[in-house]
């Protein structure tokens, strides 16, 4: 849905878009949230009134234009309203990762100089109050869920209802003021500040303007022909740029409905009930869903399992072609139709994908098998490539030109350039304004002409004309003999095997590669149960000889595969170990978006890496772990180190590395 260019340019801020939506879509649902077991909904008109009421409350509490408001919590309609309400006051919302420990949160709140913190519940309020002494600018803390907070000192702590009431009491005076700020708002004003997950070092505050978000969201919405009848489930962190662009940017530009799940644990059930038409998930989620389906089918009766195997094999053959509208024989079409009736339809329904018209995955490489599984079911899953600094969209795959190994063509208004060292650069309407209070980093990333370095190495695939990403530019290194070392390339291949959740490959400057493996507790646990393998803990299961044997087999298959790559055959893994604990964001080993922080893992587990290269059969390690409440503990373990067979190129003969 477009409103016409003239009108579009007049609607250059979110408060303006909101009021336009309330006029045009009035009684259509804008937000839904499951509460007390029932889906509650709010129309665009109600969202407008609610947001304005909050805005007046914020203003009554003294929020000034140009100030920053932290939004901390899971996806809840009122937290989304708080973002727009801040904009009504001329202030900038700063959504913060709600699962960050107090220390990490303190850094963001301090750096962003927030004056208000809007928190979901007691947990978040406690975290903010714990670091309050370091936040001299913080004036008020506002909470949504009053539970457990009654006894707190309410001098500068307020319930959201109370804030609304404060605004209501001075409505006559405040309403003209928020209207005036709304009318004065421009496309070039700051819209939101989003902190990067910080794959490398401290996170940075990315400042995006209204134009960045609105122009990019509008372009991508037109690319996929999104309409006001579409619907999304907002379940990814509010602090992540993707959620902001999908659940706020595109929702406001197009006018579709955003639903919030009841709790994190009920996400899958809520997904099924809502049946979104537009769906985004990182590869990890698609992997988890597929693993669950595979586990359930293992436990199913023989007839059901046979039906599933037969029709899934057929879907794998013709499904993607049917989806892309390529010619497929009548017999195959009929069989696919029957499969849709018996297997694909019910399966999609159970997963909540029945209505998905446009599905995206991004952030990491997705396994070709996983990707094809969804496409063969008739789900239009595509890939995109983006980052916070680009307001998400850099490249997108158009319908009908979808491949597992590429990430698409440049999005509307995006230019792409590949530097000599292979690093991908882009220039687009979504290019961020600056890193907040960090001009050096801004200058490092964005040049005078507006070209931004992605930090990823890639090339334009000559066959499809789409961008293909190999690895992080700085992770691509050289091995001792000068051959290319691309750890991500190997890790991604490893991660596509069910028992492997995470892998970290080392080998830069060395003569051979070694790997750390994290097992996937869901898959391995189920497998252990079916094979009568008893275990008491994650640590014990991870150290089980049969688990080792299984993982070893997977690595050997990867080695066989890697051996065939002319440039990267040196990246085969010679030795590996299975870590006794999951790499965790709370320990700083991963980012909040669950990307491995390679340097930190390398430092922390140095003794293990040394032992792997020294050829020792086992190694002792003691590591510090951080619990969810910030306390620290230690776990120690003696890990087994194993050799893996490596392969010559072309010849399929294995030879023992040891």
């Amino acid at each position: 849905m477009t409103r016409g260019a003239a009108l579009d340019s007049a609607l250059d801020t979110f408060p303006k878009l909101l009021e336009d939506n309330a006029r045009r879509f009035g009684d259509r649902p804008a937000n839904r949230e499951k509460e007390f077991g029932i889906w509650q909904s709010w129309t665009w008109r109600e969202v407008r009134d609610g947001t304005r009421a909050l805005a007046m409350g914020f203003m009554a509490l003294g929020l000034e234009p140009g100030e920053h408001v932290a939004i901390i919590g899971k996806n809840r309609p009122k937290l989304y309203w708080s973002m727009i309400a801040s904009q009504y006051c001329g202030a900038t919302p700063v959504p913060v990762y709600q699962d960050a420990v107090a220390e990490e949160m303190a850094f963001v709140l301090e750096h962003a100089e927030v004056v208000f913190a809007v928190c979901e519940d007691q947990e978040q309020v406690d975290k903010v109050l714990a670091v309050k002494d370091r936040l001299p600018k913080l004036r008020h803390v506002i909470y949504l869920d009053p539970r457990g907070l009654r006894k707190y000192d309410h001098t500068t702590l307020h319930s959201m209802e109370h804030v609304e009431r404060l605004g209501q009491d001075r409505r006559a005076e405040l309403e003209p003021r928020i209207d005036a700020i709304r009318d004065a708002g421009k496309g070039s004003d700051t819209c939101v500040m989003l902190y990067t997950s910080g794959t490398t070092g401290r996170s940075k505050g990315v400042v995006l303007s209204n134009d960045n978000v609105i122009v990019t969201a509008r372009g991508a919405a037109q690319f996929d022909d999104l309409r006001e009848t579409d619907s999304v489930l907002a379940y990814l962190p509010m602090a992540w740029v993707g959620d902001f662009v999908f659940s706020v940017g595109q929702a406001y530009v197009v006018g579709f409905c955003v639903s919030c799940p009841e709790s994190q644990e009920t996400m899958m059930a809520d997904l099924k009930e809502i049946g979104p038409t537009y769906f985004f998930a990182p590869p990890r989620i698609f992997e988890t869903i597929l693993t669950n389906v595979a586990i359930r089918m293992e436990d199913a009766g023989r007839v059901k399992k046979w039906l599933y195997d037969v029709f899934m094999a057929h879907a794998k053959k013709v499904g993607p072609d049917i989806l892309d509208g390529k010619p497929v024989g009548l017999g195959a079409r009929l069989k696919y139709w029957l499969g849709e009736l018996l297997i694909y339809g019910p399966l999609k329904n159970v997963l909540g994908f029945s209505n998905v018209r446009v599905g995206y995955t991004a952030g990491e490489a997705i396994g070709p098998e996983i990707f094809q599984f969804y496409r063969s079911l008739g789900i239009n899953l595509k890939q995109l490539y983006g980052q916070t600094e680009a307001t998400v969209f850099i490249t997108i795959q158009p319908d009908g030109q979808v491949r597992a190994d590429t990430v698409g063509v440049p999005g509307p208004g995006v230019e792409i350039r590949i530097a000599d060292n292979g690093e991908v650069f882009y220039r687009s309407p979504g290019v961020f304004q600056e890193y907040y209070k960090n001009p050096e980093s801004t200058a490092d990333t964005k040049d005078a002409e507006g070209w931004v370095a992605t930090g990823d190495a890639g090339f334009i695939d000559p066959e499809s004309g789409q961008l293909r990403i190999i690895d992080r530019a700085k992770d691509v290194g050289k091995m001792a003999d000068g051959s290319m070392f691309a750890p991500k390339f190997v890790e991604n291949k490893l991660k596509f095997y069910p028992p492997i959740l995470e892998a970290v490959v080392f080998g830069a400057g060395r003569d051979r590669c070694v790997a750390f493996i994290n097992i996937d507790m869901a898959a391995v646990g189920n497998w252990a149960e079916r094979n009568n393998i008893a275990y008491a803990s994650y640590q014990e299961l991870a150290a089980h000889p049969q688990v080792y044997a299984w993982v070893q087999k997977c690595i050997e298959e990867v080695n066989r595969d890697v051996a065939q790559d002319p440039m990267l055959s040196g990246c085969q893994i010679h030795r590996f170990l299975i870590l006794h604990k999951e790499l965790d964001a709370d320990d700083g080993e991963m980012t909040r978006t669950r990307k491995v922080r390679r340097r930190i893992v390398e430092e922390r587990y140095k003794p293990l890496i040394d032992a792997l290269y020294a050829g020792e059969p086992s190694a002792y390690i003691e590591t510090e772990v951080t619990y969810e409440d910030g306390r620290k503990g230690k776990i120690a373990a003696t890990l087994e180190l194993r050799d893996v067979a490596v392969f010559e190129r072309r010849s399929e003969q294995g030879r023992d590395a040891a």
Partner: protein, 285 residues
């Protein structure tokens, strides 16, 4: 909280005043709701409880502790009326209580959880909690069978109460899961939910934290404190974990071999020599 007076004063005065009105007053511990006077309970020749007196005040968290076999569970059964003591008086909400029939026990406004979980394993979380509201349902069996008019309206009303409890205990994701399939810690939480569903005046918890890991214990503590805080429910609990008891209880009564050896705030109990001896043992030299 580290708000200073100066910070408050720097705010707009008008709003500072409103804030104070808005802040809910701290919880008050009221008059005794239950008084136990010189209770003695015998099973044949065994004296489980010997001449014990103590009270439970409105709105407080009262803990009963003691080594194994001290008579804690017997005491809980006396409180909820399951056992009737041979000697002594029980006063509940201003009235002296005599021996009761089971349905009277159920309707007196005391709900409890059990040391060994006593849920309907084959029923869902939702249905289990719904059973907690049985005593509050008014329509007859026949109209409930037809599920028409009053009965339907009543079920909706009860379901809403139950959903609020589910929300409160954060167990939405297991709403439709049979409780037999749930891990132990969650089953304990469902049992607490069922007890809460009865909207009790007095809630008895028999070792709510037994067999839990640290994280589950912390969750449970938070729920107990929140129940007390949000609903103003008076709580009496038996617990082995001294750390937990000292953290959450307002007052503690200590039993040993059926006798009361201490009664007071956690601090007083901590410094009570008799209690220390009972728990740590005394050297006989």
């Amino acid at each position: 909280m580290t708000h200073t007076v100066a910070e408050a004063a720097s705010d707009d005065l008008e709003y500072a005043v409103k804030e104070i009105q808005h802040g809910i007053p701290p919880r008050v511990i009221g008059e005794p709701v239950m008084e136990m006077k010189h209770i003695t309970l015998r099973f044949g020749g065994v004296t489980a409880i010997k001449d014990i007196s103590f009270d439970i005040r409105e709105g407080e968290i009262r803990a009963i502790i003691g080594p194994n076999g001290a008579g804690k569970s017997s005491m809980l059964n006396v409180i909820n009326g399951f056992y009737h003591p041979q000697e002594g008086e029980i006063w509940f909400r201003g009235k002296k209580r005599g021996p009761m029939k089971p349905h009277e026990i159920a309707r007196q406004g005391i709900a409890r959880t059990f040391q060994n979980i006593a849920l309907f394993k084959g029923m869902t979380t939702l249905d289990n909690i719904m059973t907690g509201r049985m005593t509050l349902m008014k329509t007859g069996m026949l109209s409930q069978l037809w599920w028409w008019g009053r009965a339907q309206a009543e079920e909706i009303e009860h379901r809403e109460k139950v959903e609020r409890i589910i929300d409160f205990l954060e167990i939405q994701h297991i709403r439709k899961t049979p409780v037999g399939r749930l891990p132990y810690g969650l089953q304990k939480r469902v049992e607490l939910g069922r007890a809460l569903a009865a909207e009790p005046k007095l809630l008895l918890l028999d070792e709510p934290m037994a067999g839990m890991n640290v994280e589950e214990k912390e969750d449970m503590c938070r729920f107990i404190l929140d129940v007390n805080d949000e609903f103003g429910t008076t709580i009496a609990l038996i617990e082995h974990d001294m750390g937990v008891v000292m953290d959450i209880a307002d007052r503690v009564v200590v039993l040993d071999y059926g006798k009361k050896i201490g009664d007071g705030t956690p601090d007083e109990i901590r410094n009570n020599q008799e209690v220390i001896d009972a728990y740590l043992g005394v050297s006989h030299d």
